[in-house]
Amino acid sequence: MFEKRLYSLNGEGKKYIRLNVLVQWGGLLAEIAVIYAAALTLDALYSGLSGGFLAFFAIMTATGTMFVRYFCVRGSFRCGFLSAMKTREVLHSRLSLKADAEKEERQKATENAERMEKYCSEYLPQLYYAPLAAVTVTVAACFVCWKAALLLPAAAGLYLIAVIPNEKLTRKTRDVLICAAYLCVALGIVVCLLELKNHNAHIYGCLMVIMLTGELLRPLRLLEKSRPAAEEGRKACDAFFTFLEKEEGGEKAR
């Protein structure tokens, strides 16, 4: 699932990866607050609650979440940058010990190090964040419509299995799994509508589930997008560590 050798080597970088996940999660909580405010407003409009109260509630929630999201996006970039720098430091320090190696091999090892940097800064935070986002969205949906919420982790699970690099899965199987994930999301929305029809859910609950499905799928799509970086990163890791071990083996033989 992820490159353990690189992860264990990358002492300080791990801290920034975790911070990146935490910051993105903060942004997600802010987004859920906005969705809640909008859904509650629309429900209250239908029920006939006071317009002044609604406007005040919408403004206060949105003002708070606006700045939270702004700082979360900037924080996420910073953490990604810092984890890439820490990874670079560690890998270059290892490379500097192999100054005697052939120029071409060192060049290849440097290129592999760049791919491993990208793996740590782009792929790993998304790999940890996507399941956390799925759990958070499910918990938020549980409060409003638990029957529909049960389908969301199924969707997230199927998508994660399809997206995480795995040589045993063919392309067709991945496509089928992704379609099944989207089907689970669609069924979640349908279940929510049926619960509303049977008076087991409120309008705001239904609206929340509908808008939360977008927040469930977004990190999974980003993880899918960073899959090429993951595959290249893993191959680069294998080549890099083989290079280090080969040079160590050569030195021992001498």
Binding site: L45, G51, I59, C179, L187, L193, K197, G214
Partner: protein, 276 residues
């Protein structure tokens, strides 16, 4: 615009595939928007505001839209790969006089110009038009508010971000020419360029929330005055709040477009020197 036009003219043999790719991308965004809108209409049917429409039909349509999304994305990716490899072949032929290393570096920067820069803009425009039609059906004021937000998020902010990013890149290039190679300087430059990009994306997110709250307040006021009915309020808010994704991506696309323009300028500069 001239440079993009020149690149598109160069890639004329791929025109039909480019059109299909943009259409597939726009359809993916549109279907993604239709899911909450159809669900909104289903809610209206349940609460009795739209009795003439069938709940089953809405549910089936929403499910079909959901399943179509990965299919459309897959088809779009297939055309993207064809366009990229076709663009690479065309660029290789047009840059055959260039040194290998430089040519490969330019091809790497230019081959994704369509699917990473041009296509997102085209798809976002089509998506915005569809959202405006949905919102404009109920009230012109909310449609105007939506239009201004789409213009700010989809055009103004990406252009500002891209020009700021370009000036930072030019400054760093000037300072690299004047000073010796220094790893710390290079990292500092990387950090500054990345911060500019992150600030733009963060500003887009902030403005998206701001425009959402402005629209919600407008909807509340119009509803209380009786100008907008509940159906209009619900569909307007749902459509608007679920329509930002293709626009938020454009800040990154504008960065890539600037990089493409830089590469294209370098190529035409090199070709002029060769001609002399």
């Amino acid at each position: 615009m001239k440079t993009v036009g020149k690149l598109l003219k160069m890639c004329k043999p791929l025109e039909s595939r480019m059109r299909v790719q943009v259409l597939l991308s726009a359809m993916e965004h549109l279907f993604s928007l239709m899911i909450p809108v159809l669900a909104g209409y289903a809610i209206l049917q349940i609460i009795g505001h739209r009795k003439n429409l069938s709940l089953t039909a809405f549910c089936i349509a929403a499910v079909l839209c959901c399943i179509s999304l990965p299919v459309l994305r897959k088809a779009g990716q297939k055309y993207t790969m064809e366009i990229r490899s076709g663009t690479e072949d065309i660029l290789r032929v047009n840059m055959e006089n260039m040194a290998d290393g430089k040519r490969d570096s330019h091809i790497l920067r230019l081959k994704g110009f369509f699917d990473e820069a041009v296509s997102p803009f085209c798809a976002a425009v089509l998506h915005a038009i569809a959202a405006l039609i949905l919102i404009g059906r109920y009230n012109l004021l909310t449609a105007l508010l939506a239009l201004s937000s789409y213009l700010v998020l989809g055009a103004v902010l990406p252009m500002l971000a891209a020009s700021r990013s370009r000036s930072v890149r030019e400054e760093s290039r000037d300072s690299e020419e004047n000073t010796e190679e220094d790893t710390d300087e290079y990292e500092q430059t990387e950090l500054i360029e990345g911060e500019v990009s992150a600030r733009s994306k963060a500003a887009s997110e902030l403005l998206a929330v701001l425009f959402s709250v402005m629209l919600v307040i407008a909807v509340i006021l119009l509803y209380r005055q009786g100008v907008l009915n509940y159906e209009g309020s619900l569909i307007t808010v749902l459509t608007f709040m679920c329509s930002f994704e293709p626009l938020l991506v454009l800040t990154g696309a504008a960065d890539i477009l600037m990089d493409v323009l830089d590469a294209a300028e370098e190529i035409s500069g090199t070709q002029e020197k060769t001609d002399e």
